[in-house]
């Protein structure tokens, strides 16, 4: 029930894989209400991350997450770069020096990351951004852990909340990011950033469930 360095890096790889698999899909979502680059950008960044983490192990989980963040900041660009970069950088700061993470450590790191995204991007819940996925994901995770759920269960509930949050962006009129330029025309489209964030949260549930952090391994 702890997240090892290997599991953390598997999660990053799983996210990279999900982004690669959904590159066209994310770009199409972005074409509808943005500029048709979200999948391309995230994939470029996550491929750079893979190259980076394949090149050699980092000292600890915190350092790993920081490296991911730094790499995303310097390869993604657009809004996604600084926002996902900040997410990982803040997670890395929260997890600094840790060789492995407990469920609580993980929740604290993710919360720190999401707060970082909010500080940087100033988006509120309901603005039709990745925040609409991430905040419910953190809230559900903490609630589950607070109720004594195992990490596997908690991650599953977090992923479910993330998915609900992502889908809830569909009817919204965007108030932040490029989609906000469309005004009413941004409604009836799922937000690309909310979608990539769901891939991120889902990857955590899948990766950590399938290993020592799985829901039976309390």
């Amino acid at each position: 029930m702890r997240i090892s360095y290997g599991q953390a890096s598997d999660w990053v790889r799983a996210f990279a894989g999900a982004v690669a698999d959904n590159k066209e899909y994310l770009t199409e979502l972005d074409a509808a209400i943005g500029d048709a680059d979200h999948g391309i950008n995230m994939n470029r960044g996550m491929q750079a991350v893979l190259t980076k983490i394949d090149a050699g192990a980092q000292p600890d989980v915190g350092a790993l997450l920081k490296t991911v963040g730094m790499t995303l900041v310097s390869t993604v660009g657009g809004a996604g770069g600084p926002l996902y970069g900040t997410l990982f950088l803040q997670m890395g700061t929260s997890a600094a020096g840790k060789a492995e993470l407990s469920g609580e450590d993980w929740a604290a790191a993710l919360a720190a990351g999401v707060t970082g995204v909010q500080n940087r991007g100033k988006a509120e819940l309901g603005d039709k951004t990745m925040i609409d996925t991430l905040v419910p994901a953190v809230d559900a995770l903490r609630e589950a852990l607070g109720e004594g759920a195992g990490l596997g269960d908690a991650l599953a509930r977090s992923a479910a909340a993330a998915e609900t949050g992502m889908k809830a962006t569909i009817p919204l009129v965007a108030r932040k990011g490029r989609a906000s330029y469309l005004g009413q025309r941004s409604a009836n489209h799922q937000d690309p950033g909310a979608t990539s964030s769901w891939l991120l949260i889902r990857a955590a549930a899948q990766t950590f469930a399938g290993s020592g952090a799985g829901h039976d391994a309390q």
Binding site: A31, A32, D35, A36, G77, A79, R175, Y181
Partner: protein, 333 residues
Amino acid sequence: MKKLINDPADVVKEALQGVAAAHADRVRVLTEPNVVVRADAPVQGKVGLVSGGGSGHEPMHGGFVGMGMLDAACPGEVFTSPTPDQMLAATKAVDGGAGVLHIVKNYTGDVLNFEMAADLASSEGVEVQAVVINDDVAVQDSLYTAGRRGVGATVLAEKICGAAAEQRRSLAEVADLCRRVNANGRSMGMALTSCTVPAAGKPTFELGASEVEIGIGIHGEPGRERRELAPVHDIVSMLATPIVEDLPYNSGDSVLAFVNSMGGTPLIELYIVYNELNKFLSGRGITITRNLIGPYITSLEMQGCSITLLKLDDELTALWDAPVNTPGLRWGV
């Protein structure tokens, strides 16, 4: 997708190699990270001007690097804001001891990346100010949204601030001037066709054979409104009316009129647009005293145009007229 490219992944890299080969007299192109720098940078004692943004808007910004305009430009991937390390490298390369101004178009990505870069530069002891350009009246402004996009006024701000920096005005003065250009500039654009991001491989949106998008930005994003094609007389009125009513521009005002091609609209049509705009403004007692007509802030091969007005006074006019020597804009030298 039909484009004069090799691999979509190499578009920006190879275009920059072309720029480096073509304009070595005026610019240097740094790689890893990509920055276009004035050949003689840093100019000692001069405020350094840095801008940047996604590629696909050429000549903006790389084509505006040179004497009298930008000291450096950071080209991102196509339609994707560049990254803070590019901006940091640019900022350090052009710091001549008088500080550096970041001219930032108001897009979340550009703003956030430039913010991170400014923090990094400050921590390395470079004095940085940033001015955000947000002149696009197609976007409803509000405290609760990302606000208006930065479009055509960016080109004018880069030219005018570049001239002021050449006069060795201080960072605070150049930044104030940049805010003044932004405050007095308004733009609106329209598209006849979409454009195709090379890496995406297909048009960002589809327009019917007689449809146009009004109120587009410069990233192939849909506009505020889709409507039937109309005579250019009406199109100009759709673009210019919200512009003049927004600032507002009043009878007796002198303006710079900037008629811009989105990339695929040829000059013959731009001159027809200019003719209509001139009549439109004359009818309201507004006089065009300077103009700029051509593809200067583009959206790949998109067909369409944008109109930018800048209210002029003697100082802005003199700074506009001052010599400039860049691949994209040149006069007086």
